[in-house]
C-alpha cells in the first residue's frame, strides 16, 4: 500500500483536506503569480495610444507564435538609453542602503534597551513600538510635512530658541534629508521588532557566563550578543531594505524634484505619462534587483517557521 511519508491523521482521501491547500493556492496563483507573468509580457510589448495603453494580451493560443515575434526589448533599451532611469535605480539603492543602515543604527540600541528592560514593562514597550505601525503610513508621512516645511514647526522651534534668525528657514523639506527622515521614521518599527525578537529570546546566562570567564561587557556584546542577534539583523534589514527600494509615498511627499527613486518614476510613467509597457519594464528591472534580497528574506522566514 502506498503511503504518504508524513505523519498525519488518517482519512487522506477526504477532499476537504485538499481544499485547504487548493483555495489559497489558486487565489495566489491567479492574483499574485499570473500578474507577474503579465507584467513581464507587457514590458516586452509596444505602447499603444489607446486605453488600455498597450497592445492586447490574450488572443488565444494560436496567437502565441505571432505574439512571440512581436516581443522586443524596446522598452528595456529605452531604459538603458535614458540615463534618468539608471540614475533612479542607483539612487533608490543608495537611499535604501543608507536608510537601512540608519535604521539599524537607531533600531538596534532601542531593541537592545527593550530586551534589557524589566520583563514587566516589556509588553508595554513592544506595544509602544507597534502602535505607530498600526497608524497609517500616509498619516505619519503627512505629519512630517507640517514639521519640516520651511514655514513649519521645526523652523518655528529653532527661531523661538534663537538658533535661527527670524528670517531664516529650515531647508530640509523637499530634499533627500527629508526622505531619509521620513523613511527612518516610517520603517523604524519594522526594524526594531525583529531585532527585539532576536535579542529578547537570548539566554541572559550567556552574558553571565562570558562575564564569569573574564570578558568585559563591551567585548561580550560584540562576541556574544551581536552574533546571536544576526538573524534579527538580517530579517529587519531585509524587511526594510526591499520595500524602501520601491518606496513611492515618502519620496513623493517629502522629496524634492531631484530626489530620484524608482517607485516614483514608475508611478509617473504609469499615471502621468500613461506608458504602461515602460512602467512594466521599470517594475521588472526593479524586481530583478530585489530577487536576491527577497530570496534571503524568504530563507530567513522559513528558518523561523
Amino acid at each position: 500500500m502506498a503511503t504518504v511519508s508524513e505523519p498525519q491523521t488518517g482519512d487522506r482521501s477526504n477532499p476537504a483536506r485538499w481544499l485547504v491547500v487548493a483555495i489559497p493556492y489558486i487565489w495566489l496563483l491567479l492574483f499574485f503569480a499570473v500578474p507577474f507573468l503579465i507584467i513581464l509580457k507587457i514590458s516586452f510589448s509596444d505602447t499603444a495610444i489607446s486605453i488600455p495603453p498597450y497592445t492586447p494580451v490574450f488572443e488565444g493560443f494560436g496567437a502565441i507564435g505571432d505574439y512571440l515575434s512581436q516581443l522586443d526589448f524596446e522598452n528595456y533599451l529605452f531604459l538603458t538609453d535614458d540615463p534618468l532611469y539608471f540614475q533612479a535605480y542607483i539612487s533608490s539603492l543608495r537611499i535604501a542602503l543608507i536608510s537601512t543602515f540608519l535604521l539599524l543604527l537607531i533600531g538596534y540600541p532601542m531593541a537592545l534597551a527593550m530586551a534589557r528592560a524589566p520583563s514587566s514593562i516589556r509588553p508595554t514597550l513592544v506595544m509602544l513600538v507597534i502602535l505607530p505601525f498600526w497608524t497609517s503610513f500616509l498619516i505619519r508621512v503627512y505629519a512630517w510635512i507640517g514639521i519640516l516645511k520651511p514655514d513649519g514647526l521645526l523652523t518655528l522651534l529653532l527661531q523661538t530658541i534663537g538658533l535661527m534668525g527670524p528670517d531664516d528657514q529650515v531647508q530640509i523639506f523637499r530634499t533627500d534629508y527629508a526622505v531619509f527622515i521620513g523613511i527612518v521614521y516610517s520603517y523604524l518599527p519594522f526594524m526594531v521588532l525583529p531585532l527585539y525578537a532576536a535579542l529578547e529570546k537570548m539566554d541572559n546566562t550567556l552574558l553571565e557566563a562570558a562575564s564569569d570567564l573574564g570578558c568585559p561587557p563591551w567585548k561580550a556584546f560584540w562576541k556574544i550578543t551581536f552574533p546571536l542577534s544576526l538573524p534579527g539583523v538580517i530579517a529587519g534589514s531585509m524587511i526594510c531594505f526591499i520595500p524602501i527600494t520601491g518606496e513611492f509615498v515618502i519620496p513623493d511627499l517629502l522629496g524634492g524634484a531631484d530626489t530620484l527613486m524608482i517607485g516614483k518614476t514608475l508611478w509617473t510613467e504609469f499615471f502621468s505619462n500613461r506608458d504602461w509597457p515602460l512602467a512594466s519594464a521599470v517594475a521588472v528591472v526593479l524586481l530583478l534587483m530585489l530577487v536576491v534580497p527577497i530570496a534571503i528574506f524568504q530563507n530567513q522566514q522559513k528558518k523561523v517557521a
Binding site: 498600526w134 523652523t155 526593479l286
Partner: protein
C-alpha cells in the same frame, strides 16, 4: 548601572521620535487657525467641516466597506494558507506556495499594485470597488497567514488527535477544537488585515476605478495640495480608532493572561 541609564535615554529619545510627530498632528487638528505654525486657540471647527465634506465621507465609507470585506476574505484565505504551510509538509509546488506567501510582505507596493492592475485589464474586468477588494485580499491574506502560522506552530496537535480519537470527524474537529483555540490569532490577523487595507494608498490607486475612491487616495490628493487642518482632523480620528482598537485588544489579552494566572493559583491550591 551605566547601561541602565543608557537604555533609558535610548528609549526616551526613540519613543519621542516615534510619537512627537503624531502628537503634533493630533494637537493641530484642534487648532482654530488654518496656519500650521500659528496656534489660534482650541476649536472643533475642522471636525465639523470634515463631517460636511461629502467627498471625504464617501471615501471613508468606501474604505470601511473595502476594509471589512477584504479583511474578512483575507482572514479566511490567510487561515487556510497558514494551515497549508504548517500542516501540509509535502505537496507539489510547496516552494512556490510559501514563496507567494512571503513575497508580498516585502514586495514594493508599486509592483504589486501595477501587476494586479494589468491582470484586471487583461481579463477585461472594470476597475472599481471589487478590484480594490481583490487586491487588498491578496496582500492582506499573506499577513494573516504569517500571524496564524505562528500560532499553529505552537498548537498541540494531540488536541485534534484526541477529538478524532473520541469519534469527532476531521472537519468537525477543525471547527470545534482547532478554530476556537487559534481564534485570538485569527482575530489579530483580521485586525491587521483591516488596518493594512485602511492604510493602503499605492495598491488601491492602481486598482481603483470611478466611484471607489478610498480615504487614503482622497487624503493623498489633498496632501499634495498642502497641509490643511481638515486632514489633521480625519487623521486624528483614524489614529484614535486604531489606538482604541489596539488598546482594547491588549486589555483583553491582559485579562485572559490574568485569568490564566489566577487559574494556576487555584489549581495549585485546590487538590
Amino acid at each position: 548601572m551605566k547601561s541602565h541609564r543608557f537604555d533609558a535615554t535610548v528609549l526616551t529619545l526613540g519613543f519621542a521620535f516615534l510619537y512627537i510627530p503624531i502628537i503634533i498632528l493630533v494637537v493641530y487638528s484642534f487648532n482654530a487657525s488654518r496656519l500650521v505654525t500659528v496656534w489660534g486657540g482650541f476649536s472643533l471647527n475642522w471636525y465639523t467641516t470634515m463631517w460636511s465634506n461629502e467627498g471625504l465621507m464617501d471615501a471613508a465609507w468606501v474604505t470601511a466597506r473595502v476594509g471589512v470585506i477584504s479583511a474578512t476574505l483575507g482572514t479566511i484565505l490567510g487561515t487556510l494558507a497558514a494551515l497549508t504551510l504548517v500542516r501540509f509538509v509535502r505537496f507539489p509546488g510547496r516552494m512556490l506556495f510559501s514563496g507567494m506567501i512571503y513575497a508580498p510582505l516585502v514586495m514594493p507596493e508599486v509592483i504589486t499594485g501595477l501587476s494586479m492592475l494589468l491582470l484586471f485589464v487583461a481579463l477585461g474586468i472594470d476597475r472599481g470597488f471589487w478590484t480594490v477588494i481583490i487586491a487588498h485580499t491578496t496582500f492582506t491574506m499573506c499577513y494573516v497567514a504569517i500571524v496564524v502560522q505562528s500560532r499553529l506552530l505552537t498548537f498541540d496537535r494531540s488536541l485534534e488527535e484526541a477529538a478524532l480519537d473520541l469519534g469527532c470527524p476531521p472537519v468537525k474537529t477543525f471547527f470545534k477544537i482547532t478554530l476556537p483555540l487559534i481564534m485570538p490569532a485569527v482575530v489579530a490577523g483580521w485586525m491587521l488585515a483591516f488596518t493594512l487595507s485602511l492604510d493602503d494608498l499605492v495598491i488601491a490607486s492602481f486598482n481603483t476605478g470611478p466611484g471607489a475612491t478610498t480615504l487614503p487616495i482622497k487624503i493623498y490628493s489633498q496632501v499634495r495640495l498642502g497641509v490643511t487642518p481638515e486632514i489633521n482632523a480625519i487623521c486624528t480620528i483614524l489614529i484614535g480608532l486604531v489606538t482604541l482598537g489596539v488598546i482594547a485588544t491588549s486589555i483583553s489579552t491582559k485579562r485572559t493572561e490574568l485569568r490564566r494566572i489566577r487559574d494556576e493559583h487555584e489549581a495549585a491550591r485546590g487538590a
